[in-house]
Every structure is written in C-alpha cells, then in structure tokens.
C-alpha cells in the first residue's frame, strides 16, 4: 500500500500543467483492436485531490504498452485502476470519466470485480509467491475458481510454467516451496501464476525493479514472447526497458498523460517538449 501512497503525496500540492491533448498514431489505432479504453479519467485517493487528471488513451490487443514517467506521476495508479486494485483503499476512486475494458465500463455497478481480475491479471514489483509449493502457487488461481480436478490442474500448471519459461528449471521439484527459488525465478513463478488463470490482459507493475540484470533480461524476453497471447501493460522506471519490450509508450507527468505513441517515435522524436526533457535525462 505504501508504494502508491507516496505517489499521491508527491502529487497533491501541484497544479495541473499543460492542456495539450495526447497525440496518437491514428493509423495504428485503426489497424488494431482496442481492448482498453481510458476515457477522460480523473482519480483521487482522497476526494478533492485528483492524482490522475483527464487521462484518455487506448490500449491495443496483442501489444505491449509501457507507462513511463518520474516517480509520483500516476502511472502505477492508472495501472491499478485497470483491474480495480485501488478498490482496496477506502475512499479512493474515479472522480470522472470511465475505463472500458473489452467494451465494458469496469466501474459499472454490475461489474463483478472478481470476474474483472480474472480477466485482467497483475504482476507486482515485489515478487511474492505464497508460502506454498510451486505447484500450488500456480494452481492457486484455478483452485479458487473451483477447479480441483488433478488432470486439469496438472495440465494448466505445466503449460503455464512452460509459457513462463520456468518448467525446465522446476519440473523436478514442483512440491518444494516457492520461496526456495531465486528472485528471478520467483518473479517468473508469479507470472506463471497469473497466466494460469488465462487472463486477456496482464498488468505489470515494475516487474524487474527488484531483480538483477540477468533475471531482468530473462523476464524481458518472456514479456516479448507473452505478447503473442496477452495484451500487456507494463509500468517501468527503466527507459531502456521500455524501448526493449514495448510497442507503445505513454509518458506521464504529474498525473497527466503527456504523450502516447509508438515507442520508437517517443524515444527518437517525441512531439512534446516535456517528453524530450525526460527521456534525455534532464530531469526525473
């Protein structure tokens, strides 16, 4: 909880700046199917102090979208809005606008947040396998959906672990504790756990920031592979990482979406001054 509280504190005292609308690559939008539509969204942890201001964006199917920006710019907050993890904080909520996933307003009262989260999985910054066996960790999501048939679980566990590139490393010790793995392996286990539920979208909140460079590389490769099957939104501090893994990048600053475009364009030829300042390392 503490991680986004700090975001909010940084944000509170500052006035919104810049009215420029985000520029989008119109042709790409036409060609691709939109799965997430963020529509003029304002968000507040404490009513009255918005930390996200009038955000609008479309996220396309089968792409990796990266959110970048300095600390406290609201990128993690927006990510958590996408599967309503912010519901856990009392009083926090959208104050304006709506978010549509697969065409449905996810803050609509008829939306069951549990179902939503089955469709929109999340991988966290700090890898956190449950203190259970590797097998049970991956099977967890299915078990809570009431799947208890051994054969189904076995198959799902195997395919998820294979997809996460962990199968060869752990297939002989599925019954040992998930906590016994190395950091990178634990994070991949968490990814396997997430994809076992077969979500449409995977949100990743700085998945590599707690990992060493080698593990980071492995995870990045994994992300590029996963995009075949899933739509991925990733928050990252690391701009190189964004260039390496993402198709599109959105740059946030002080709760506003400054610019969103194809990654190569953002990093080579940003249309906004602020973006350029940030990626060239002048601040942030």
């Amino acid at each position: 909880m503490k991680t986004y509280m700090s975001d909010q504190e940084d944000q509170m005292t500052l006035e919104p700046q810049g009215e420029d609308a985000p520029v989008q690559d119109q042709s790409a939008v036409d060609a691709l199917e939109t799965v997430i539509e963020v529509d003029h969204v304002n968000f507040a942890y404490i009513p009255g102090t918005d930390v996200l201001k009038d955000i609008s964006m479309n996220i396309n199917k089968g792409e990796v979208t990266a959110f970048i920006g300095p600390s406290g710019c609201g990128k993690s907050t927006l990510l958590r809005c996408l599967n309503r993890m912010n519901d856990l904080i009392p009083k926090a909520g959208l104050t304006q606008g709506e978010i549509r996933i697969l065409g449905t307003d996810i803050y609509h009262p008829e939306v069951d947040v549990i179902e939503l989260r089955k469709h929109v999985g999340m991988v966290f910054q700090k890898y956190n396998p449950f203190p259970k066996s590797i097998y049970e960790n991956v099977a967890y999501g299915l078990r809570i959906q009431g799947v208890n048939r051994k054969s189904v679980l076995d198959e799902a566990v195997e395919s998820s672990l294979k997809l996460a590139g962990l199968w060869d490393e752990v297939k002989d010790r599925l019954d040992s504790s998930g906590l016994g793995l190395s950091g990178g392996q634990q994070q991949r286990l968490c990814i396997a756990r997430t994809i076992a539920v077969q979500p449409k979208i995977i949100l990743m909140d700085e998945p590599c920031s707690a990992l060493d460079p080698i593990s980071t590389t492995i995870i990045e490769e994994l992300i590029t592979q996963l995009k075949q099957e899933f739509t991925i939104v990733i928050v990252t501090h690391n701009m190189q990482q964004a260039t390496r893994v993402s198709d599109r990048t959105a740059y946030f600053y002080l709760g506003e979406l400054i610019e969103m475009d194809v990654t190569t364009k953002i990093f080579t030829n940003p249309s906004q001054q602020k973006t350029e300042e940030y990626i060239s390392g002048r601040f942030g």
């Binding site: 479309n58 549509r100 065409g103 449905t104 609509h108 008829e110 939306v111 069951d112 469709h119």
Partner: protein, 396 residues
Amino acid sequence: MHDIAKDQPVKKGQNPFATKAVKLKRRDRTISVALGAATYFILACTLYIFADITFKGIPVVFKTEAPFVNFEFFTKSPETLMTFETEGGETYKMNFSEYSQFKRDSPDVNIVEEHSHAYSGGGIFGPLVGTALLTIICITVALFVGLATAIFLNEYATKGRFMDSIRLAIMNLAGVPSIVFGLFGLMFFCLFIPVVTSEPLERSFLAIPLGGGSYFSFEGWGTCMLAGGFTLAVMILPVVIAACEESLKAIPMGFREASLALGATKWQTISKAVLPYAFPGMLTASILGITRVAGETAPIMFTAALAHKDKLPWQDVPTTPGSNFVAQAAEWGTGFLSQSVQAMPYHIYTVAARIPQSEYTKPMQYGSVFVFMVLVMTFAALSIFLRIRYRKKLKW
C-alpha cells in the same frame, strides 16, 4: 471514442465481467456473517456478566435516599451477620458487634430464633485497604526492577548469550502459573529470605551471628503484606518490563545520539535524555500492572492474605516506647509491613465458596464483586486507553 452515459446499464450477456460465481459469493457472505456472529457472541457474553453483576451489586452499594451511597459498606470491615427474632415476633438483622451491644443493652429480650451468617455483615473496608497496600508495594518493586531491566536491555545490552538468556527467562516467567508463584513466594519470601533479628526463629535455615546480639537469619518475613507484594511483583515483572521497554523504544535514537555527541556520559544520557520522556510509558506500565495484580488471588493466598482480621494493618503495630523517634518510626514501619492483610479477591473467594449460601449472604457477595470489578475495570480501561493513545503518539 464513444461516450456511454454512466447510468445506462451494461447489457446482459455483453458484460464479460458480470458476476458468475453466485454460489461462491453467497458462501462468502455466510461465512462473514458467521465470523461476525462469533465475535459479537463473545462481546455479548462479556456484557451479560457485567450486567448481571452490576444489576445485583448496585442496590448494595447505592441507596435510594440521600446520601445515595452506602457508606457503611465502604467504611466497615467484614463481620458476621446475625439474624434473629425476639419473642415479640420482631425480626432483626445486624452485624455481630451491634448484636453484642444489643444483647448487653436489653438483657431481658428473649431471642427465639437466631442465625449467623459468616462474613456477610459489615463492609469491605479491610479488604480494600489490603488490596491497595499489596498493590502499592508490588508496583513499587516491580516498576523499579522492571524499569532497570528495560534500561539494561534497551540501552546497555549488546546482542549475545546473556541478553538472549534474559529474554528467554522473562518469556518463560510470563508463562508460569500464578499458583506456582504462590508456592515460590511462600518458600522464598515467607520462609527463607534473610532478615536481621535479635532472636532467630526455630524454622530459620541458617542464622549468622552479626555480633551485638543480632543475627542474620534465613527465616523469611512470614505471612505478611511485604511477602505478598514481592510475590506479586515477581509475577508481573514480565508485563512491566515489556511495557517499560516499549516506552524506551519509542524515544528516538536521535535524543541519545545528540546527548552523547555533546560529551555526556551514558548515565547522563539515560537520566537526562531518555528517562524523562519515558514517563508516560512507565505510567502505562504501572496501570497495566495494577490491573493484573489487583485481581490475582492464588499468589497471595499463602503469602499475605487472611480471610478474617479484626484490625486494620496500621492498628496495634507494636513499638518500644521511650526509644528515639527514628528508631520508633523504623520499628513501626517494619511492624506495619509485616502485618497480614485482607484482600478483595481473597475476600470474594471466601464469601463465594467458603460460607454456606443464603439470601443474607447475597448482598455482601454481589456488593464486593461489583465494587471490585468497577475498580479493576477502571484501571483496565485506563490502561487500554493509555496504550492506544500512546501508540498513536509514538510516531515522534
């Protein structure tokens, strides 16, 4: 981008996030309700016990006419209650002392039926005084030792075997049953601890002559409030240490560092920069201690408490007339501390279990329990309140 009005319902069948696991949700809600019910059942039981004792106790302690409080109940010590009937058909109910007076005053009254109810008359002054004295002794000792231990653990000790074993000992001490402390107190404080005396008792383990006719005799203090207070102090030591440590931990390291950096010695730092700020914690510790100690019966059963005692502890303390004032005061003090006392919990045990029950014993039973509970609960509430407040303030 297309706008959909917020209040327009999502069409059924089109909403991929519509609730599917209805059964699961219902089960969830049922379990939540069951858990809540268990919680509130516990609270309801508590409330019932309080209500029962309060409703039956209030009529004893309060009166319907002025001055509304039954002062006699608070200012007299327990006595035997006499109920009797004279030949004239009148029934009387009075304390034993009044009864003897009555018989002396009217020797010609013929008493036909007479019943005595032990401990059911008078009031609870003696037990209240005894409990207060025991508590004061206990808290003084426990706070002294507890604070010193906490200072050692928090300020001096470095990680190592010594500190580990102290912590282990404290933890184990916390789990020892109170009756075992009673046994220990009896063996150690009542029968063993050395005293300086002019004539050692026969039971003395070892009497070392000091010259001048006095001996250093391992004979213990006997059954007295000092022994009881010390026994209780040993028992609550873990609680007091924990509370004191918590209060010391709450003082920012910066205070100490600043003081040390100014060239103060360790002790100066502790006495000037640490202890003054630990006061609220010490207050909490002592109140917490009082709450636990006041209600304990088992440790004082053999070490300090009597079921019946005519005199209050300060009455009839022997002194040698003629000696100088200091000597007399010292003698009085020692004599006073070696008095046995009545105590509230022991008194309640006596009236609840050791006398035959009748309608005449009820007022004393419920009155005592009510007063006792109100006292202990006030301290308990205070300690909980202080702790919550203190924890809130803890973020310096």
